[in-house]
């Protein structure tokens, strides 16, 4: 088995999700694990990948790879499979990675399994673990093609630094004509304050139960006191209370912080799938029948307007003492 991990980057840093998958691949303990990073000015990222388990990193530098568009990256990965004979390609899911993986599956007629939360070796076979139907059933999936592609749910694996170093090989890639058809003409990326929601160890999230956009300050202050990020539900984002970049759920971000505090969130399936992998879930909701209590470690039936500011004060006092 020879494994290649797609290393996605943003703002001159490798994404935590990619590093997590890299660490997982290295822990499978088969042959050496390689990574691939594509873009411009990305050579330094290859060294970073070495610290997280990559024995080798392929670097594809090309102006056509500067923008985070999928199709030129399909060309890069397809060429690596052809030239280097990789049989297993792993991706941490994202808007970009999903499009790269699926394009590659079609190009190579290679089996692809998505939304995996784990991968194991059983009786000499690779088996993917996939929660399905709103996570009501866990499906063991496999591949029948020589080349196997897997997309992992964000937050499935924590990166673990091994302190190793990677051999770096720069590669030249011939791009398909249609791969440069789509062009990036503008990027408007919100630079949110505090830790980004997907990397945050603590997330305090607010839902419709807050009563109005002005009450998001309660959530923000608790998040600040805990050193965490702020999340929001689809309902409040749609209502314009809070920006999309903070949305947790099926059509927003999937997060898995150590601690998730849900304030005034009912726990609709749309939200649940985005946060249920969190380490510890605390919910405050005045409705004792809210579904969120079914998957919370600590549920508090109470008014968020009372409980949350008190908790913020207590956390501040504890940190000050």
């Amino acid at each position: 088995m020879s494994t290649l991990v797609f290393l996605e980057h943003h703002g001159n840093e490798l994404l935590k999700g990619s590093l997590g998958v890299l660490s997982k691949a290295a822990s499978l303990g088969e042959a050496e694990v390689a990574g691939v990073v594509a873009g411009t000015g990305v050579r330094a990222l290859a060294d970073e990948a070495g610290k997280f388990g990559a024995a080798k990193v392929y670097v594809a530098e090309d102006a056509q790879l500067e923008a985070p568009l999928s199709q030129p990256r399909v060309d890069v990965l397809a060429q690596l499979v052809r030239d280097k004979g990789f049989d297993t390609m792993l991706f941490a899911n994202s808007v970009l990675a999903a499009d790269v993986a699926a394009g590659l599956a079609a190009r190579l007629d290679a089996g692809i399994n998505w939304d995996l939360t784990d991968i194991v070796r059983e009786d000499g076979k690779l088996v993917g673990k996939r929660p399905a139907l709103q996570d009501s059933v866990y499906v063991d999936v496999g591949w029948t093609s020589e080349v196997r592609l897997a997309l992992f749910r964000p937050g499935s694996f924590d990166p673990s630094a091994t302190g190793g170093s990677a051999e770096v090989e720069e590669i030249q890639v011939a791009l398909e004509d249609f791969s440069s058809g789509a062009r990036m003409i503008d990027q408007a990326h919100e630079e949110s304050e505090g830790p980004s929601i997907e990397d945050a160890q603590v997330i305090v999230a607010g839902g419709r139960g807050l009563g109005g956009p002005e009450n998001f300050t309660l959530v923000e202050e608790l998040a600040k006191a805990l050193g965490g990020a702020v999340g929001a539900t689809r309902a409040v984002v749609d209502a314009g209370w809070y920006p999309y970049s903070t949305q947790v759920g099926q059509t927003g971000k999937t997060v898995a912080p150590k601690l998730y505090i849900a304030c005034g969130i009912s726990g609709a399936i749309q939200h649940k799938v985005g946060m249920q992998s969190s380490g510890v879930i605390v919910a405050v909701n005045k409705d004792p029948n809210a579904p969120i209590f079914e998957f919370s470690d600590l549920g508090v039936v109470g008014d968020v307007h009372d409980v949350v500011p008190k908790l913020t004060e207590l956390v501040k006092q504890r940190k000050a003492s």
């Binding site: 199709q71 290679a110 499906v139 999309y244 998957f295 956390v315």
Partner: protein
């Protein structure tokens, strides 16, 4: 502009996986995949903004998927093509994208639209596979789509914010469910849908080889179905004025504060 919209019928209500076949049970009532109705709506708006063109629905599924297609026709699409063949059952992404690409080639549309995911399989990748097979540019998670001078401008929503992507036509675009509010079919639309063309095609009609279709053409398999892991002990308390302290104690116990 000719627009093809790829749509899927998904099982309605509670879903189950058949333990025998390990496939999704599709025996019950079906509905138009709700995410696809946003793609149908966007196609209709693009057609209406230019005042000319055609919106054709392209789907793969059992014969009764015609019902879901009729709903999209009632919204205003002009005609529908359903690839329906027993040999296509159990198709994974590799096999589905191959058959769908063959059906789309036959239509040579200027624009091919998808919804952002399938409500049953949670698949959110088909467009990229189809685009690669058709050798067309692709953009996904579109929050806005504009068309002018033979070019498409797509505002894409990612984990980092918004990108603006430009692509020449023909192109493949997957729209997000935030892009629009799908219209309800009018009574006139529902009546009119009954007389709109609904074509059914077999794999042979499309020249899809049997070993590239259905389970034979698939490259993934299902080994086993398991119960989800249970969460550990959970506690639920009522706020008697001391709930904030109880939460803090809990967080301290878990070493989270």
């Amino acid at each position: 502009m000719k627009i093809a919209v790829c749509v899927k019928q998904v099982p309605e209500g509670s879903r189950r996986i058949d333990p025998e076949t390990k496939r999704l049970d599709r025996s019950g009532e079906g509905a138009l995949n709700p995410f696809d109705s946003h793609a149908v709506e966007e196609a209709l708006r693009l057609k209406e903004s230019t005042g000319e063109g055609e919106v054709v629905l392209v789907s793969m599924g059992p014969a009764k998927a015609q019902d879901a297609l009729r709903k999209a026709l009632a919204m205003g699409a002009d005609r529908a093509v359903l690839v329906s063949d027993e040999g296509a059952a159990g198709a994974d992404l590799v096999a589905t994208s191959y058959a769908l690409a063959k059906a789309l080639e036959r239509e040579s549309a200027d624009l091919i639209l998808f919804g952002q995911q399938a409500g049953d399989s949670d698949g959110a990748v088909l467009w990229a596979a189809v685009a690669d097979r058709l050798r067309l540019p692709v953009a996904s998670q579109a929050a806005e789509v504009e068309h002018a001078d033979g070019k498409l401008t797509v505002k894409r929503q990612t984990e980092f914010g918004y990108d603006v992507i430009e692509a020449p036509l023909p192109a493949v675009v997957a729209v997000s469910d935030a892009i629009n509010e799908p219209r309800y079919p009018s009574l006139k639309g529902i009546m009119g849908a009954k007389s709109k063309p609904q074509e059914a095609l077999s794999l042979a009609d499309l020249g899809v080889e049997s070993d590239r279709a259905g389970e034979a053409g698939s490259r993934t398999e299902v080994y086993a179905l398991n119960d989800p892991p249970a969460r550990g002990d959970s506690r639920k308390i009522e706020d008697d004025g001391n709930a904030a302290q109880a939460i803090l104690d809990f967080l301290a116990e878990k070493r989270l504060v």
